[in-house]
């Protein structure tokens, strides 16, 4: 019986390793993976922060991210951007992109804020068990998704090309575009800024205090609700930054359901790097992006991207259950 079921799978050469292709495309796969991984990292930050403070997996964070993407698309398309590369002057392009970035940060932050106020705070007031939060998060995710569906319809938004990319460097025979550099550098800067904010600022200290021991923190005069709201908002702002670069990289990827898969992967990135750990989010994102790309090229089929990425995730967690850098938002290293 088992043999009968397996036979079709065995007859097709369902798995084959294309090593020459991986060697040939190694560097381009690496750079593309880093670029996409940087975006995973930015989204992963929102999961990590909220988890660190509340021990809550905020499944609706993918919708915080996708609403930011919608903000980018709506702002840019109203400014005359479309699927074709814009013809306006460089200064105007930069100005438009900043405007879109700010809009995305604001919109994502507002959605994250509302999510906290409407979905989670009432539950916290009633001391609801953790499972209820999880279900609420999934419900909130669907609610936001289908609200977007009702407003914007099922079709993806038309592509927004922000600028025509062009190669800048030639590394090991692989062209690196200005877009890739921009995304990775901007993502790393955003992560460093967030990391510094949490490590050094007064509010950051509050966030770490609540993550470490909410009750003691409250006794010490930390306003817990305020800290939680700020945590959500910071996650939202960073997701907004991720939204701009996601639209830059995948111009037609904005669809009501478009955040879900990316959200799952960003969450996986957070777990891989060590959930609750800000630096781990970036590391996990970059790793996940690169590994997925290697897997896809090695196995010659996009269906393998996620399989490979998640197998690696499982393997890492088997060896180090807290993720690569460990869960340390509340610890002194942070």
């Amino acid at each position: 019986m088992l043999e009968l079921l397996l036979r079709p799978a065995m007859e097709n050469d369902w798995i084959s390793f294309d090593v020459p292709s991986l060697i040939q495309n190694f560097w381009s796969a690496t750079f593309d993976g880093l670029t996409f991984g940087a975006i995973y990292g930015l989204v992963a930050l929102g999961y990590t922060l909220v988890y660190g403070v509340l021990n809550l997996i905020n499944f609706a964070h993918s919708e915080v991210f996708i609403t930011g993407c919608y903000a980018v698309v709506l702002v840019l398309s109203s400014l005359g951007f479309g699927p074709s590369a814009p013809t306006m002057s460089v200064g105007l392009i930069i100005l438009s992109l900043i405007l879109a970035l700010v809009a995305a940060m604001i919109v994502s932050a507002i959605v994250a804020y509302l999510l906290e106020r409407v979905a989670y705070r009432p539950l916290r007031r009633r001391n609801a068990p953790r499972l209820v939060f999880l279900i609420t998060a999934i419900g909130a995710s669907f609610t936001i998704q289908y609200t977007i569906y009702l407003v914007r319809g099922a079709n993806p938004e038309p592509a927004i090309t922000m600028f025509r990319t062009s190669p800048i460097f030639d590394v090991f025979g692989t062209l690196i575009t200005d877009q890739q550099i921009l995304i990775v550098v901007a993502a790393v800067i955003t992560m460093i800024a967030t990391d510094q904010f949490i490590r050094r600022s007064r509010t950051g200290r509050g966030i770490r205090a609540v993550a470490q021991d909410p009750d003691t923190a409250t006794l010490m005069g930390v306003n817990r609700d305020r800290i939680i709201v700020i945590t959500f908002v910071v996650g939202g702002i960073v997701a907004g930054v991720g939204a701009l670069f996601y639209v830059m990289l995948v111009p037609s990827g904005v669809q009501y359901s478009g955040g879900f898969v990316l959200g799952v992967k960003a969450f996986a990135a957070a777990v891989l790097g060590g959930i609750g750990n800000v630096r781990g989010a970036l590391l996990g994102g970059l790793l996940l992006g690169v590994i997925g790309n290697y897997g896809q090229i090695l196995l010659g089929n996009s269906q393998w991207t996620d399989v490979v990425a998640f197998v690696i995730l499982v393997l890492v967690l088997l060896v180090k259950p807290t993720g690569i850098l460990g869960t340390s938002l509340g610890r002194s290293k942070a």
Binding site: N25, D32, S166, D178, L182, P251
Partner: protein, 406 residues
Amino acid sequence: MLRKKIVTSIAVGAAAVLLMTACAAQSGGTATAGPAAKVDLPVLASFDPPKGAVLPAGDGKATCPAGLTLGYVGAQTGANAQLGINIINGVQLAVDQHNKANAGCQISLKKFDTEGDPGKATGPVTQAVNEADIVGIVGLPFSGESKATGNIFEQKGLVHITPSATNPGLTTNGWKTFFRGLGNDATQGPAAANLLTGKLKAKKVYVVQDDSDYGIGLGTATTKALGSAVSGSDKVITAQKDFSATISKIMSNKPDAVFYAGYYAEGAPFDQQLVNKGFKGAFVGPDGAKDDQFIKLAGDASENTYFSCPCIPGELIPSFKNAYSAAFKADPGTYSIEGYDAATVLLSGIDAGKTTRADLLAWVTSYDKDGLSKHYKWSATGELQAPTVFGYKVSKGKILPIGVIG
């Protein structure tokens, strides 16, 4: 103090980002756009429909019992919804023309949405076959959903004509109720190969297929027809948004053309990202990608795109185009005329007194007449005899026919 430091570091970061953007945008201006050496294929200016084609209006004297209904089952929403909407409009136009001309025979049209998803199609199909008023169906548009639901129609003896599903395997299931109103991918594959190596003179073709029944079938047929011209191949999945790994392989392979077997929802962003990475060759997609949505999603990257399609350029038949534009405020799209013709086959049967499912099925089985797009006569398995495949190209944001390619 600390706050100041943070503000400073953010400011420095922002400045660096701006600088990067400036460099990026500046160098972007000098990059060349579109394919370098483009073969200029002449545009087909006119298409002569068969003389004496059967039209939905008939002779205007038809009488039939009240309440008879035709159905459309297929995508109304979903990622590739536009292909379904083109068909719905064609069917609606045929029904409207029929009802206007035949006061004694009023047919209604009922629509069932599958989102084009094989996993969701069984529900709407079950609903449609269980409505006793429905005597014939136009649909389903896509191959995967057709494969998933053909048995349900078969069990209820309900005739259905697909205006667009092209997977060759669909007619090998022994279904007596399934009819295909166009050529299949066993003819489209070689035609696409002819477009690639014959008309576009590509020596190396990179074949990329998606994971749908349609994409797999067409990818296989085209790869076989291309033979040694295939320089590499890759697979993508439904709802994929980022194609960088596939594009890396293509860029190091340096093909003259890329053939994509799949739908526009993935094909358009794929082409866009490919062109943005500096690919200068031609991009050839099949009927599932041939829609204005492709141009809308890919922008001016789509200027390198050609399509193969077993669909007839309905926009070149003035009577059809004008009636369609007047009704829907848009030009006919891919498969609008196939939907119109399929509905006409069913309507003419009802007019001839075939008002039960069994009679209408027998009518379609022995049908042998011209439609507006082509001659309709089916083999025992439901394949059309003598189908044709047209080539199309994108030029200045429009899809234009370039004539028969196979």
